[in-house]
């Protein structure tokens, strides 16, 4: 485990969050509090609600009851709170979602210019800084389709960082990658963690969880079943569902 910069202020807190898709109960009474600088790994079987949970944090999904507060802003249905939260929360998706008609650099400058009102030179300076940091500055003038999956995902990370968020959400960032590209993306995420970024990662990369996570949270059927430090989580899981899940996942790795 890494030594992390942590304070006691919760940066994100979810209280009794309930989410339904029609008759399907996707999130059940979720309580979660994340401190500044903390790294959380969320895992669980597919359909367990882990992606839904992080998508609620930046209001890509709406919730039916409960409260979500990010950096002092409580999400409600008015767009002011949603705007405020989205400015502070970066997200990286499984399928990269780079904008195909923009160069790497343009992908990175779009939001700082349109959302933060940065000038083009400023936005480009910031973009180059973060592209350098994910070690892909040499591809700045290329289009997404000209990059490998791993490179695209690193650009997606840089793009999110360009908004200088307080929190980064990762939604299965390596699941769509060819095996040989997983490492470059994980290394980028590890570097980010070392720098003290607050992170919530939905991932099945247990090596990453072991190395980076302050807490591993296991979800199933829309509930948080178990949460623990990586050592405890991997060596002494309490709940039978966690044990079954770990058995299956570690058998494949």
């Amino acid at each position: 485990m890494l030594t992390s910069i942590q304070t006691d202020t919760p940066l994100i807190s979810l209280t009794k969050v309930e989410k339904w898709y029609g008759a399907f109960h996707a999130l059940k009474a979720i309580n979660l509090s994340v401190r500044k600088g903390e790294k959380i790994v969320l895992c669980g079987p597919s359909g367990s609600g882990k992606s839904t949970l992080i998508r609620c944090i930046n209001a890509l999904e709406s919730i039916q009851s409960g409260t979500i507060t990010v950096d002092g802003t409580t999400l409600d249905n008015n767009s002011t709170s949603i705007d405020a939260v989205r400015r502070e929360v970066g997200m990286v998706f499984q399928s990269f979602n780079l904008f195909p008609h923009m160069t790497v650099l343009e992908n990175c400058t779009l939001a700082p210019m349109r959302v933060r009102g940065a000038s083009k030179p400023d936005a480009e300076r910031i973009a180059r800084k973060y592209l350098e940091r994910v070690r892909i500055l040499d591809q700045a003038e290329k289009y997404p389709a000209q990059l490998s999956g791993g490179q695209q995902q690193r650009v997606a990370i840089a793009r999110a960082l360009c908004m200088e968020p307080n929190v980064m959400l990762f939604d299965e960032p390596t699941s769509a990658l060819d095996p040989e590209m997983v490492k470059e993306v994980l290394d980028t995420m590890i570097a980010l963690a070392v720098d003290g970024m607050t992170m919530i990662c939905v991932t099945h990369e247990m090596g990453f969880a072991r190395q980076v996570a302050d807490r591993v949270i296991f979800m199933a059927s829309g509930e948080i079943i178990e949460e623990a430090t990586p050592e405890v989580f991997f060596t002494a899981p309490q709940h039978p569902r966690t044990q079954a899940f770990l058995g299956e996942i570690l058998a494949h790795h």
């Binding site: 890509l60 989205r86 195909p100 999110a160």
Partner: protein, 222 residues
């Protein structure tokens, strides 16, 4: 067949025909530009959160696509003056072309917008962009690129439909040809000539669309 061809008249009237052709090109470009604007705004309005707005767009598209263009242009030219809206033939022609082309453009562009993955929209929203910015900056260009061939063929059709504007005596190639024909009775020569000229006009439009495509849509996709 003892008809003697005499293209002399046609050559004599060539300046008028060229002016007519230029006018046709002008009507087409004006109509297409406005149709494109109507198409894009229509698609945006069709996904509005206001039901009335969405309903209005759907009704507009259905009315225009299920009535003849000739009736639409007559309606604007002959019926609207009864309500105090009096427009000259050229303006009428442009509006009729824009409205007609716009309705088809809405349907075509909507298809393109629907083909864009939800992930693109979510990535934009997650970066803090507003819904309309996401549409304008992220969705629109790839969407239009996807359906560009259909849009182009619709707009080429619109270019040729300018000929119908003859019916309200708008100044364009076919109406010029009709005037020359009724002066000279050289039907074959006149209509043969403008057939060739329409082919040229279509090629010019195709060329323009190809240029636009090369400028805007040349980014690699795989």
């Amino acid at each position: 067949m003892n008809y003697v061809f005499d293209f002399g008249v046609v050559f004599e009237k060539m300046p008028e025909l060229l002016l007519g052709a230029a006018s046709t090109l002008g009507l087409a470009i004006a109509g297409i530009s406005l149709a494109l604007i109507i198409g894009v705004l229509g698609v945006a309005a069709r996904s509005s959160k206001y039901r009335l707005m969405r309903g209005a767009v759907i009704a507009f598209v259905e009315v225009v696509r299920n009535t003849p263009f000739l009736v639409q242009i007559f309606f604007i030219f002959f019926a609207l003056p009864m309500m105090g809206i009096r427009l000259n033939p050229t303006v009428t022609a442009i509006i009729a072309l824009a409205v007609n082309g716009g309705a088809y453009a809405i349907e075509i562009i909507r298809g393109g917008v629907e083909s864009i993955s939800k992930g693109q929209v979510e990535a934009g929203l997650a970066l803090g962009l507003h819904k309309f910015q996401v549409f304008r900056l992220i969705v629109l260009k790839p969407a239009i690129r996807t359906i560009y061939p259909s849009l182009v063929s619709q707009f080429i059709m619109l270019t040729l439909t300018t000929a119908v504007c003859t019916s309200i005596a708008a100044y364009e190639l076919t109406s010029v040809a009709q005037m020359i024909e009724s002066d000279t009775f050289r039907s074959f020569e006149v209509y043969f000539t403008i057939t060739i000229m329409y082919l040229f006009i279509s090629s010019i439009m195709m060329g323009l669309f190809a240029l636009i495509s090369r400028h805007f849509f040349s980014y690699p996709t795989r």
